[in-house]
């Protein structure tokens, strides 16, 4: 028994070393073999990437009940969402909008990967997703029913619909993913934390395949009203890194990816979108809302170290870039310090200017821009950019997409609460 185990371990190590080259002993390489999304820019990956190429904004007037009572009335909303186009009556009763978004994005991702989780693969496959608000529309609708309308009865599925793990659980049921399954909540870094953990699980051999990403559906009266209170929202546009930026704009939607063991993907001849090569997380341990450049920098350098990449190998960073005064200057300071002279040569853009800030789902949609940079050599722009800010003196790819060949990229996420998560990808 012991002999067998040792032999198997040694064999695995050999495979990883042979195929990975730089892969560390015992660690597997992790690749992305499927991607899916729905967000304000489109109901699938290709439409979203086309918006990135065109520098098109998905931000518009919000449309939902009681919107006239809000002082912030813009957002990157999925306007033409009709759940009945995708789900039957019973499913709609059970799925909050954040779960609906997740299921739709996952369907695209799994279809692209060509995987079938029947049989043994399902036992070594799992799901880890990020969300900050979970079933916030369900909370909102039912609080309204009991408080405003004075009802004394709510639908029996309120709890299974609103819980933050609902989307992860439904994905596991939909595809028979019987390995690790859970949900991560780290506010605006939720998706990056989720994808980082999924990466670590496949890399360590704890799972062969993980569905991962995140979802958010916070665009309802209560969701936006809560954000208004902080006074960090813009009333007109999201202009990351621009000197005249005046706040963030909320978005909604989901992004889901298939993270797969490289050898498994190669053996079945799968189309590989990109390789996930590094991940790091850090905590500022400082302030519940104000970000720290040191905390962000530790996550950035940590991800490069984990990936075995030198700073000068990074060609593009998808920024957290919220468009608030505090985030953008702090993030630029962190990047400038982490990269030294190379900071002037790399490109850094914030696609939140187009798809808005999807809060717990944002890192997932932003990973699409990273994959586009690696696969197509097109860098998504920071749109809405109008005035240079000396505190954000980096190449932010203003207003127009750019053709550039990049070999490795980072995706930043820095959350309220001082929780930072950075992912490194490389082309394959």
């Amino acid at each position: 028994m012991t002999d067998k185990k040792t032999r198997k371990k040694a064999a695995t190590r050999k495979t990883a070393a042979a195929s990975g080259g730089e892969a560390r002993s015992g660690l597997r390489r992790v690749v992305i073999t499927g991607a899916g999304t729905i967000n304000a820019l489109g109901h699938d990956v290709e439409t979203t990437l086309q918006a990135f190429r065109e520098g098109r904004s998905g931000i518009s007037q919000l449309d939902f009940r009681d919107v006239e009572r809000l002082s912030i009335q813009i957002g990157a909303q999925v306007h033409d969402w009709r759940a009945e186009d995708y789900f039957n009556r019973q499913q709609i009763l059970l799925y909050d909008k954040f779960t609906q978004f997740t299921l739709l994005a996952a369907k695209q991702a799994v279809a692209q990967s060509g995987l079938d989780f029947e049989g043994a693969l399902g036992l070594s496959a799992g799901v880890v997703l990020g969300t900050a608000g979970g079933g916030l529309n369900t909370w909102d609708e039912n609080y309204r029913a009991v408080y405003e309308e004075g009802k004394n009865r709510v639908h029996p599925f309120v709890v299974p619909k609103l819980m933050n793990n609902a989307a992860a659980s439904h994905l596991s049921m939909e595809y028979g993913l019987r390995g690790p399954a859970f949900t991560v909540a780290t506010a605006c870094a939720s998706s990056n934390h989720a994808m980082g953990l999924a990466f670590q699980m496949v890399r360590s051999g704890a799972a062969q395949v993980m569905l991962t990403g995140g979802s958010e559906a916070m665009l309802c009266f209560g969701g936006v009203k809560a954000w208004e209170g902080l006074r960090v929202m813009s009333k007109d546009a999201c202009r990351p890194f621009s000197a005249n930026r005046n706040g963030m704009v909320q978005g909604e939607g989901a992004g889901v990816f298939v993270f797969e063991d490289y050898d498994h993907a190669r053996a079945r001849g799968a189309d590989i979108l990109a390789e996930v090569v590094g991940f790091a997380m850090s905590s500022d341990a400082q302030d519940i809302v104000m970000p720290s450049a040191q905390g962000a920098e530790r996550a950035i350098t940590g991800a490069m170290r984990d990936a075995g990449l030198n700073p000068d190998q990074i060609g593009y960073i998808n920024a957290h870039g919220t468009g608030t005064a505090a985030n953008d200057k702090t993030e630029c300071a962190a990047v400038a310090h982490a990269f030294g002279h190379h900071a002037d040569r790399l490109m850094i853009s914030s696609t939140k200017s187009m798809h808005g800030h999807l809060i717990g789902g944002t890192g997932a949609v932003e990973l699409l821009a990273c994959i586009m940079a690696l696969r197509e050599g097109i860098i998504a722009p920071t749109i809405g950019y109008q005035e240079q800010d000396p505190e954000c003196a980096l190449d932010v790819v203003p207003n127009e997409a750019r053709e550039a060949k990049v070999d490795a990229v980072l995706s930043n996420a820095f959350a309220f609460g001082g929780l930072n998560a950075v992912i490194a990808l490389r082309g394959v």
């Binding site: 006074r231 960090v232 519940i288 005064a325 505090a326």
Partner: protein, 88 residues
């Protein structure tokens, strides 16, 4: 009436700053009183609740807001103006 408003504003700001109301003068700036950005947002909320007014303030561009937060004197003047507008 104006004196009452002024005193009430000072009490609210003093509570936020964990000071006595008489330690808050017209010349005091939020920084001098030890009120950080989150404290400022909280103070503005408390003033809105107290006087039932809406204060135009965006934490991203405090200097561009119509609500001048340079010091206690400007804050008091702005609140008094909003209270008067509401009464009119």
């Amino acid at each position: 009436m104006t004196d009452t408003i002024k005193n009430r504003i000072k009490e609210i700001i003093a509570e936020q700053a964990m000071l006595e109301p008489d330690q808050v003068t017209d010349e005091s700036t939020p920084e001098e009183l030890g009120i950080d950005s989150l404290g400022l947002v909280e103070s503005i909320f408390a003033l809105e609740e107290e006087f039932d007014i809406s204060i135009p303030f965006n934490a991203n561009e405090p200097s561009k807001s119509e609500f001048d937060i340079s010091n206690m004197g400007t804050i008091i003047a702005a609140v008094e103006r909003l209270v008067a507008q509401k009464a009119a």
